[in-house]
Each structure stands twice: as C-alpha cells, then as structure tokens.
Subunit: 213 residues, 2 copies
C-alpha cells in the first residue's frame, strides 16, 4: 500500500483545485470520439445482428462501446411503458437521454431501436452536439422483413394479435438524410458492419488527436 | 487504410461466430471491477464535493468513471418528475436502472443523491450483483447541514417555501449497514475521498486479475 500513499500525496498537491472530469478527459483516456450510432429500421431488418457484429469489431480494437436495445431497456428502465403512441415517444426520449449520458461518459453508444417516427429521431439528434449522432438506416422492404419474421411477430400482427406494429398498422418514416444507409436485402451483416467501421475510421472517430475531440 | 483492411480480414476470421461483448470483456479492457458507489446523505452533507474529488482521483489513475447527480439527471432523463413521494421513488428507480446499465458498460459509477428512503436504496442494491453496490453514508447532523446551507434551501424549507424537504418536513432513514460511513463534521473532503479510494484498493476493485471479475 506504500505506492498508493505516495500517489495520494502527489495527487493531493496536483488536484487541490477541484475540476470536473468531462467528456474530453474521458475520450482522451480512451482514444475515441464519443458518439451515438443510432440504428433505425423495421423489425427483422437486421439492426441487432449488424449492431452486435459492429460492437465485436470495435471491442476487438480496444474501443469502449455499449449497446442499448430492447432487451436491456424494455425489461429495465422502460418496463413501465407500453406500445401506445405517447409511451413510444417517452421510450425514445429516455433512450436518447441515456445515450447522451453515455456519450458524456466517453462511450461509443450503439442504439438499436425501430424508432419509426422522424420527430423522435430528430429529438434524439437534437440532444447531442454536432457530430455526436450518426443515423444508420437499415433498409429492407416490409415484404422481406415479413418473410424473415424470426420471432413470428409479423404473422401475429397480420392476424391482429399484436396492435400498433410498425409496417402493418403503424407507420415508419423513412430517414431523409441518414449518415449511413445499408440495404440489408443485398448486404451481408459482416459487410454492413465493415462499412460502418470504415465510416468511423475515415471520419476520425477512432484514433483521435487531442484537438479533434 | 491498408492496415484497416488487413485488420478487418483477420477479425472476419476470428469473430465469425457472434458473441456478445459483456461486462467481463469491458472490465478486462479497463482493468477495473465495475461498481456503483452510492452516496447517500442530507442536503449539504458534503456528498457532491467528496464524489467529485473521488472521481478526480480515479481519473488521475486512468480509471473510467461516471458521476450521476441531480444536475445531469433532474434536467434530462428525469425532468418529467416532481418531488412528490411517488415521483421520488420513480426518480431513484430510474437512477438505479441507469447505474446498472453503466455497470454493464464496465464503469465505476458514482451516484450522488440524498436518496432518503431505505426501501429505495435496498431496491437499487437489489438490481446489482453481489459486490457491485457500495453504499457510502455521508453523515452530518441536520444542524450542521442547515448551518452550512450553501444554496439557502434549508432556510426556504424552514420558512415553508419548499415542501417535502429531507430533514425538515420529510424523513431520512439512516443507513443500517453501509459499506462506508464518513462523518463529514470532522473529516476533510480530501481525507474522505482517500478513505473511499483505499477501500476500493483493498477490496480489489482496481488492478483486478482476470479471475476476480
């Protein structure tokens, strides 16, 4: 414990003036520019598969990420919310606020939600600073998604067993100017993840210099 | 971009089998055991001062932290909540759920909230796994806190201008078995932060070995 005591003495001298540890300090520690990668698209369009693969790639490069999706949000923070329109809006609002906190914490946040409404996605973007929100539209036709139907949800929606299902009896606003578009009908998940990784590389989100944060 | 392409080819081979990046993988990347340091105590007891100082110490050691407090929660995620009893419960529930997500993300989370009710703190602890919740009781008498009164809140509460103020017309349940107690009436903030840092060191939250995560 001797080393600790010496360290502490030194820290006492250096850090007597209080200051807050902020986004820039954390990002420098991690050599990455914090950002939200916001995946939007129909159910079964391939969002989660691509998002998971991208997270693995980034982790293999020692980058610090976190994936927010229905599994860890709907069963925890947002378990009090239903799928009515006002609750969907509140659902996305809270996800956007958590994303903002995690960007503040220095992370690369991967948010994977249908997020069908333009106004909600604009609200989420509006919470972040310039360059901190990358909208990734996973484009696949409703016919293709309904034919994949891995969880049998489209079938239930078509039979009226599920209400307010995006693409069946609830709308999806196609993103107008997303930073990245992936046509998942003719792109393998691995190529889609690579496409996003290259976007991050070429736009200096990884291996940042001090003055780029 | 040549290096990137080579890297990607290698990653393609290694990571073809999908797997999720979890708490353990992130913690190994950061050489720390993710944990919530939950500060509880009266208004003006010194929670935020000590929490800020502790975060600086941990950051100076390249540890990855995030501080949750009223400033970044009440103005964002929880801006729809008031100070009525049900809203206070919901306030702490959401903070606990965010803390859980951030622990999942591998962080050392510093949560600094009055959190006056035993049941709420027990709920927060119950969300985490064994050893992931460290309750830190910042103990200062109501008389001392009211005499400090840096924001003039006690005076307003005593005049009836603020309702439901902890220690005046709303209760505070003293923690029964907190992991750490700090008597802020006779402890400097810098010594309090050091006491917590030594607790983390001696309980292996920092410099962890693979089999301790």
């Amino acid at each position: 414990m001797g080393l600790i005591d010496d360290d502490l003495k030194q820290i006492k001298n250096i850090y007597w003036q209080t200051f807050s540890i902020g986004k820039k300090a954390r990002a420098q520690l991690k050599n990455q520019k914090p950002v939200v990668l916001w995946f939007t698209g129909l159910s079964a369009s391939g969002k989660t598969t691509i998002a998971n693969l991208l997270e693995e790639y980034l982790h293999a490069r020692d980058r610090h990420t976190f994936l927010l999706d229905g599994d860890n949000i709907r069963h925890g923070l947002n378990k009090d919310l239903s799928f009515t329109d006002p609750d969907r809006v509140e659902n996305i609002r809270r996800i956007a606020e958590i994303s903002k906190l995690m960007v503040e914490a220095g992370l690369i946040v991967i948010a994977s939600f249908i997020s069908p409404f333009y106004t909600d996605r604009r609200m989420a973007r509006g919470l972040m600073e310039e360059g901190e929100f990358i909208e990734i539209y996973i484009n696949a036709s409703i016919e293709l998604c309904a034919s994949r139907d891995p969880k049998g949800l489209y079938k239930k929606a078509q039979n009226g067993q599920i209400k307010n299902f995006t693409g069946i009896d609830s709308g999806y606003d196609i993103p107008k100017r997303p930073e990245i578009i992936i046509d998942s009908s003719n792109t393998e998940a691995i190529d889609a993840a690579n496409q996003i990784l290259l976007y991050l590389e070429s736009n200096n989100y990884l291996d940042v210099l001090d003055d780029q944060i």
